[in-house]
C-alpha cells in the first residue's frame, strides 16, 4: 500500500502541489473507494486536483459540470432520437415487424452516454469530477447519492447497467449553498485553502519555470498581500499564474520598477471594476514594496 506522502510526491511530479490535509484525504478516498468532497473558495485548485489525479493514475478524466436544471438527459444518458427516427423509417420500408424494430432502436447502439454512465462503463477506473455540485438542484444531489452508493444505473428500455469499474469520484463545491448531510456523510471531506507562501512559490516554480527566483518571490508576496485586502473577488492560483506569465512575457525583472506596467498587469488579478478601483497605483506600489 502506498502512503499519502507518495501520492503527494507523484502529484507534485504532475505539477500539482497538494497540502498534507488534501493529500491524506485524497489517499484515504482512493484507498477506501469513497467519493471525495472538496470545498474552498474559487481559484484554489479544486478542479485541478482531479486532473492531477487522473494523470497520476494514467486514466481519463470524466467531468460533469453541474448547473441549475441539470437533468438525467444531460448527466446520465439520452437516446439518439435522430438515428432512431431514421431507423424506424428504414425498417417500415423494409417491412420489418414492430417488435424487432423496438428491440433494435432501444439497444446500446442508439444510446448516448453522458458523464455518469460513461464513468461506470470504462475499462480502467476513470476519475469522475462532479464540478460545483452545489449549483445542481437538490433532486439531482439525491439521485447522485444513489449512483455513488450503488454504482449502477437503470434505463427503463434497457435494464440495469452495473459498473464495470468503480470510478474515483471527486466532488467540488464553492459553498454557495449547504449540501445535504447525507451527501456529506458519504464523502471524505477536505477543505482547500489558499496556499501559504512556500506552497505558492513551489506551484509557481513548477508551472512557470521561466520566472526568476527573485521575481517569483515578489509575485507571490504581492499576491498574498493582495488577498488580505478587502476585495470582491480574491485572486486565486490561476490568476497568480496569469500574472506571472504576463510579467514574464513583458520581460519585467522587478515588480516595483515600473508602476504603469504593474498597474496594467493587475488586469490578470483583479476582475471587477470595484476591485480595480480599490487598488489604485499608489496602493499597488505600496503592496509591491512590502512584498519585495
Amino acid at each position: 500500500m502506498t502512503s499519502w506522502t507518495e501520492l503527494q510526491t507523484s502529484l507534485a511530479k504532475t505539477g500539482y502541489i497538494a497540502s498534507d490535509d488534501l493529500a491524506t484525504a485524497l489517499h484515504i478516498a482512493v484507498t477506501l473507494g469513497r467519493p471525495l468532497l472538496l470545498e474552498g473558495a474559487a481559484g484554489v485548485g479544486k478542479t485541478e486536483v482531479a486532473r492531477a489525479l487522473a494523470t497520476v493514475n494514467e486514466t481519463q478524466l470524466i467531468r460533469l459540470q453541474c448547473y441549475e436544471g441539470l437533468d438525467a438527459s444531460q448527466a446520465i444518458y439520452e437516446w439518439n432520437y435522430q438515428r432512431q427516427l431514421l431507423s424506424i423509417r428504414a425498417a417500415s420500408e423494409a417491412g420489418e415487424t414492430g417488435a424487432a424494430v423496438e428491440a433494435r432502436i432501444f439497444s446500446e447502439d442508439y444510446l448516448l452516454e453522458r458523464p455518469l454512465l460513461r464513468a461506470i462503463r470504462q475499462e480502467k477506473a476513470p476519475v469522475l469530477l462532479i464540478d460545483e455540485i452545489d449549483r445542481a438542484d437538490e433532486e439531482f444531489e439525491a439521485y447522485l447519492l444513489e449512483v455513488l452508493s450503488e454504482f449502477q444505473i437503470t434505463i427503463p428500455e434497457l435494464g440495469t447497467i452495473s459498473a464495470t469499474t468503480r470510478p474515483l469520484v471527486i466532488l467540488t463545491a464553492n459553498g454557495t449553498r449547504d449540501l445535504s448531510d447525507a451527501l456529506r456523510r458519504r464523502c471524505i471531506y477536505a477543505h482547500v485553502e489558499y496556499p501559504d507562501r512556500q506552497t505558492e512559490l513551489a506551484i509557481l516554480a513548477s508551472r512557470c519555470p521561466g520566472v526568476e527566483a527573485q521575481l517569483g518571490l515578489q509575485i507571490v508576496g504581492f499576491v498574498q498581500k493582495l488577498r488580505e485586502e478587502e476585495l470582491e473577488k480574491v485572486p486565486g492560483i490561476a490568476e497568480m499564474l496569469d500574472f506571472a506569465a504576463a510579467l514574464a512575457g513583458l520581460g519585467i525583472k522587478d515588480l516595483t520598477a515600473d508602476p504603469t506596467v504593474l498597474q496594467a498587469c493587475l488586469a490578470t488579478l483583479l476582475k471587477t471594476q470595484a476591485d480595480r478601483a480599490a487598488i489604485p497605483t499608489e496602493i499597488a506600489q505600496r503592496i509591491a514594496g512590502k512584498a519585495a
Binding site: I28, E68, Y81, A91, D181
Partner: protein, 395 residues
Amino acid sequence: MSKVTRFAAADPGPAARVSGFMAHLRDHGFRLGVAETETALRALSCVNPIVPSDARLALKSVCAGSVEEIAQFDLLFDAFWMAEGRVRQKVMPTKQAKAPEKSKTSRMDESQSIKGQGTIHTPEDGNDGTETYAEATGKLVASKASNLMKKDLRELVSAEDIRGAELVAIRLGNALRHRRSRRRKAARKGTQLDLRRTMRHSLSTGGEPLRLAKRRRPERPLKIVALCDVSGSMMNYARPFLAFLAGLMRADDASDAYLFHTRLVRITNALRDDDPLRALNRITLLADGFGGGSKIGATLQQFTNGYARNFVDGRSVVIILSDGYDSDTSEVMGAALTNLKRRNCKIVWLNPLKGWQGYEPVAKGMATAFPHLDVFAAATTLNDLADLEHILARL
C-alpha cells in the same frame, strides 16, 4: 493524574478508543453515525496511525464535514488524544466561558470550574433583568405610538377577525406557492417537445411522429417556514400573528411553524388543529414562558443548527415575525442569519414596528439582520398583510 492518557488503566483496544473519540466529537455537535466510526477505523488503516499527525489528518478527513468543523477539529483532537483533555477544560469553553486560568493541579482545576459554573448563572440572572428592561421600553414605545395608528392588529381579537386574518394568510400562502423549476417534466401541453415519448408513440404509427409529446417547466411550491416572536414586547401582536400562522399552516401541509421567546418551540402540529381558537389555546400551553424575554439571536441559531437542517432548503421561505428587540448581542443574530442564508432560502422579516411613521431599523439587532433579508416589511394592519401578497409573489 497520569499525563499520558485517560484510558491507560484498562485499555479496551483501538476500536473502542476511536468510538470513544467519535462520541466525544458527537458531544460537541458533530453529526456522526456508526458508519463513520467504521470509516474512521478503515481510514486509520490507510495511514500510519502511530504517527499522531497522520492519524489527525486521516480522522479529520473522515469526521469533519464543513469548514466550521475543521476549525473545531484540531482542538477536540488535542483534547482527546493528547491528554490536554482534563475533561473540565473542554466542557467549560462554551460561549459563556471566562478566560481560562492555568491551574497547577487537577483538583484546583475542578474546584475552579465549579466556581466557574456558579458565575455563569449569575450573569444569566442579570440578563433576565435587562430583558425585563428591554420589554419595558418596547411596551412603552408601543403604547405611545399606538395612538397614531388607524387600525392596529391588536384590535383583531374576535373570531371573525381572526378568520379574516386567516384569509389573508391563505392568500399570501398562495402568492408564495409558485416558483418555476428549471427542470422540465412531461406534460399534456408545453413549450418543448418530449422527444423520448414522441419516439415511443411513433412506433405504433410506423415511425411517423403523429402524436407530439410535450414537456414544460413545472411549478414547484415554495415551502413556508414561519417563526413568530412571542416575547413580552410582541405580546400585543401575538394573538393575531398566531392566527396568521394558523392560516398559513392550514393553507398547505408542507409549511412549518415555530414560536420563540427565550426558547424555540415547534408548533406545526398544534396549529393544524381544526378549531382555530382551540389551536391557539394549545399553543399557549405549549409555549411555556410566553411573553417573557426574547433571545432572538440564540433561538435563530438554535433553529439554524437544528430544525433548519431538515426543513429548510432552496425552496423555502423563512418568515420571521418579530420586532427585533433582542437581549443577545447583535453578532449572534448576524451569525445565525448568515448560516441560515447559506441554506439558500429566502428570508422575510415582518416587523410590526415598521408600520410606524418614521421607523428606521436602528435597533442594533434589526440593523444587523437587515442585510440578510430578502424582504423587510411591516405587519401591523390587515392591509399591510394584504399588500405583502404582491411583494411575496415576486420572490
